[in-house]
Symmetry: D2
Subunit: 340 residues, 4 copies
């Protein structure tokens, strides 16, 4: 059985594991107060060109999203997201469990636009009706849950509309590395600090054992963030493991190399699928490919491959998701392409 | 600088790291649905003699506590704890943030007793006053936050009083391994399933990179627990890392060996401190030692050793905490003893 | 200025005020434990033919909705509602603030159908995906926020689909009296107990100073409901005021007389509007009328009448809401009709 | 049966009822946006000498407390209260249900002091430990739950310590009128705005049908407070009922007259009890009297009088609470005194 289920089915890149082994007996201290984290945070600040940003390492995406959003919002405030947004679908109501409404709106390709943000604001009477939730943040992801990516112009336009309505812009970067190396991407890692109030660079889905590096550029979101991390259970005891891993991650561009591998392999699938006449459910240039398949074809493929259903198409067809990772073997992709 | 700050300042036992390396490229699936976790869960069930228990792996103690407690309680219910209980002091209000009151009561040595539970119930009108929170769970830890341990008779008595008042008994076992190997302990690992509705076996503070194994024996607490894990951000993407680590942990009694080492070293400090005439702040037979020191002595020790303040004693004295771990070197203890 | 703003702009029906005066100096006790409430609750049980129901009086709709929903749901569960549902729009995120997602779906005329419920369940993988909220309740209102009403067949069908998916059915009856006397209604007050797990009979919007009578028929929702009322701030100190008012309300059918008056007057507006060629935004047979008006006409009417905007139609038109109540004077309606 | 159970067992003062009747058919608008509320709010601002304060009317104490506290605090912040504080005991965990810890400390006579506030801050490492809740508000009540009152010097001292630690000072004034007319009181109604960031003047327990007038003087607590009121279910549909009642309340000092009556009657009981050799459980100069009685005496009194248990004294004795109100008849007190 060859798996295209997700990008977190293997451990970590050997260089990361090696770094963990190397530092294993160095006594530091807990809770990311250690020199490894300090160094990794400095690296993130430098890399993103955000010298004044606060950098926090969090163990996974749902925690990162919940902590950032619930730390930023007051009780009566909500967060705008695409209906396909991870926080709206796949976090078992984590944001609502922290007390906040996700103001979801249908979005083509999983991408929010200024027009959609305006529409949500209009529905909420531009925040002037006290009987309604006050939207205060925009949540986007890059790459999105559909594998699509934002252009620089699109991100800049969202930034503008957020300033107009006094909305924080928060970018979920669980698959940011894949977006950065995708064809069509014109965003540089230094752009996110310019256009977002907070964002994160994912590690879990790109070759670390775990870890997301949250970058907070807006001063209003900085105070007491660690209290919030602790309260939500995100204060990792052996926090130095973040530092050690992220240091290895950023060294010599390993993180982008891993992402490039994942994207390259996934795009081979996408290209082959199209050549074979399949419809793609979403135009993803990143490491996830969504192919519309008949139930018959799905059953046939399932004999040798593991992959997941993503969306209903019609009575006979389903959109299936194929994910490649830093660890995907080219021969595995060869085999899948052959079977398609 | 020699550190006695805590038991999570180093990575993992070499056997654990090795297991991680060995399995690094095995493709499994996410979210602890993999064979490693299945095997580790079976091991836990066998080890604890709880064949019908649900076993869940969670990344740390605060998450484990919050998830178990908030999954168990209805909105109007609260949890009884010693004022020194971790959930009452050191989790930044995590339990309250999930909507529940911690009904705290002063307890000698950090240990709850049936009398104290009865007293909390009396204060809450035995749960009959609808203007008050209804206590529905008792939270204890073994070893406690003061390093003390419960005897079998004490745990059994708590179990009895919990049945009488329809209270769940939940045991935080972040340092359970240290308790099990402590002098004076008469509890067997198979006792916890008998007397608790839920408990966990800590790994983070005893030689794993991270991980607590939550054991749920009460059927009422089982349904939809994974929904709760996900909602609270505790659904670890690369869940197989739990399985791999815990398999190594339980193999050939490694977990108890590590705990034994930590306790042995800590008790050397305790013995020496007493012999040198220092007062111990708590009678801990486990891997934490609490020594009453003058400010002068503290300043002197801080030149070469790292350790933390635990409690105020008087104008001139403070109780300081010294923690040993699986990784503490005997020579480090020698040096500390000499300097005491 | 003649107001058609809402149905809660005047005090109470004189009979209700009189009852309050009459009983003003009778010493009872607090928190609805008094004989007045006992009697009123008995009346509700008899009237609704729900001899075993628990009846609770709550001061307003948002509190009633929040208390019922948050008392019923476990943390990982959500409530299905039409996007136009009061809980989804006009309660400033009260349900989310209690930790639960409102799983909203577009619904014609503000009415949920079995097909829509099934669609929400399908989107949520029939409750089998632990990464998603588990829908556990269906929230409807009768009359709806658009003034429309459910037929007996429609309510029965919703009941069936709820049984199939293990969903509670909860009916917001803030304007139930208006629905009961509306043309086309074939629901009897005894039907709600048959088809709903909980529902309420509104008083605030139909001639009481305040008060909603919540009827809980499902045993699973009964325990500790008063704890929840207290916790959410809904435990009214002078609870006997509910009993006194509802006794007057149900006496000699006053409640239906008041509703009939409101509906009659509103339908006069609806009829006139249609005769004059206006489009109705919703086909409401109850005490709210939604008329599509040009901005010019709105400006003209606003000189003499107070009413509210309800929904955007196009660049030139807006749907405006006109509400009649037990206190609306027929001459006021005459004047409005003339000006239309 | 003569009742001394509480001060909310009768309706409203006749002048209040009369005002409600008089204005009953005046059409206004909902949600306290009406001229009655505007006028009453102006009166409150003038009376309290807080020209810039925001004034909000809320239906009861638990709602007022929860709304003020949860609107003020960020998720990681807590509120300091005496263990006897209403929010700590008798609101079924309402504050915790909004996500915040009540940092409770034992206080003589139910009164917090600067020393106690300092002690809570010390326990919480002066707010510098991110693993702990950050105390951010002090909650007191005047009169307290034990009927005791604060002097001007005491309140001023609390204000000072709050400034020092950056704590909001919030005063629950459910029984503020009784405090103001009590012997020993030297606080003027204009003092509360000077020393508190928010406080309220109770109406429910002093002759209104319902209603508390919340006064917010600290600008930081003002924005979006009405969103919070709505979200917590406190947005009263017929808000004008607050305005009408409070206008009558403040007219010609009716509110103080009512309080004076209640206090006078209660103090007659206190004096008689002491003369007859009973111990008072608390030195309350207000409208609640706490008398230590034997079980035998309690049983005897219960034949003719209704009153409530307040606290355990010893195996043979209980502290019983006797409450007088604006409606208590002097003859009722005569009868009680005779039976004591």
């Amino acid at each position: 059985m060859i798996s295209f289920r997700n990008d977190y089915s293997e451990g970590a890149h050997p260089s990361v594991l090696e770094a963990l082994s190397r530092s294993n007996f160095e006594t530091t201290c807990g809770y990311s107060m250690d020199p490894f984290c300090r160094h990794a945070a400095d690296t993130v600040r430098e890399l993103t060109d955000c010298p004044d940003a606060d950098v926090h390492f969090i163990v996974g995406g749902t925690l990162a999203n919940t902590i950032v959003i619930s730390a930023a919002l007051r009780p009566w405030e909500g967060v705008i997201a695409a209906t396909t947004g991870h926080i709206n679908v796949h976090e078992t109501g984590a944001i609502e469990s922290s007390g906040h409404k996700v103001c979801a709106i249908e979005a083509t390709d999983g991408k929010l636009t200024p027009a959609l943000v305006r529409e949500v604001m209009r529905i909420h009477c531009d925040g002037k009706d006290e009987h309604m939730v006050l939207p205060r943040m925009v949540y986007i992801s890059d790459a999105t849950e559909l594998g699509t990516i934002y252009t620089k112009a699109e991100l800049a336009a969202l930034y503008e509309v957020c300033r107009e309505y006094d909305l924080y812009l928060f970018l979920d970067g669980a698959r940011l590395p894949a977006a950065l190396v995708a064809q069509g991407n014109d965003l540089d890692i230094t752009d996110f600090g310019k256009y977002c109030d907070a964002f994160y660079i994912g590690g879990t889905k790109n070759g670390l054992l775990f870890g997301e590096a949250v970058v907070i550029t807006n001063d209003a979101l900085k105070p007491h963030f660690r209290n919030m991390i602790k309260q939500r259970g995100g204060m990792f005891a052996k926090g130095f493991l973040f530092g050690v891993q992220f240091d290895a991650y950023f060294k010599d561009g390993l993180w982008l190399d891993m992402a490039r591998h994942a994207v390259t392999q996934a795009q081979r699938i996408a290209k082959a699928a199209q050549e074979k006449g399949y419809t793609l459910y979403a135009q993803s240039p990143t490491n996830q490919v969504f192919v519309v398949l008949s139930h018959e074809k799905i059953a046939e493929l399932e004999k040798n491959f593991a992959f997941e259903a993503f969306g209903h198409v019609d009575d006979d067809h389903e959109a299936m998701r194929f994910v490649c990772s830093w660890a995907t073997k080219p021969e595995a992709v060869d085999a899948l392409i052959e079977s398609l």
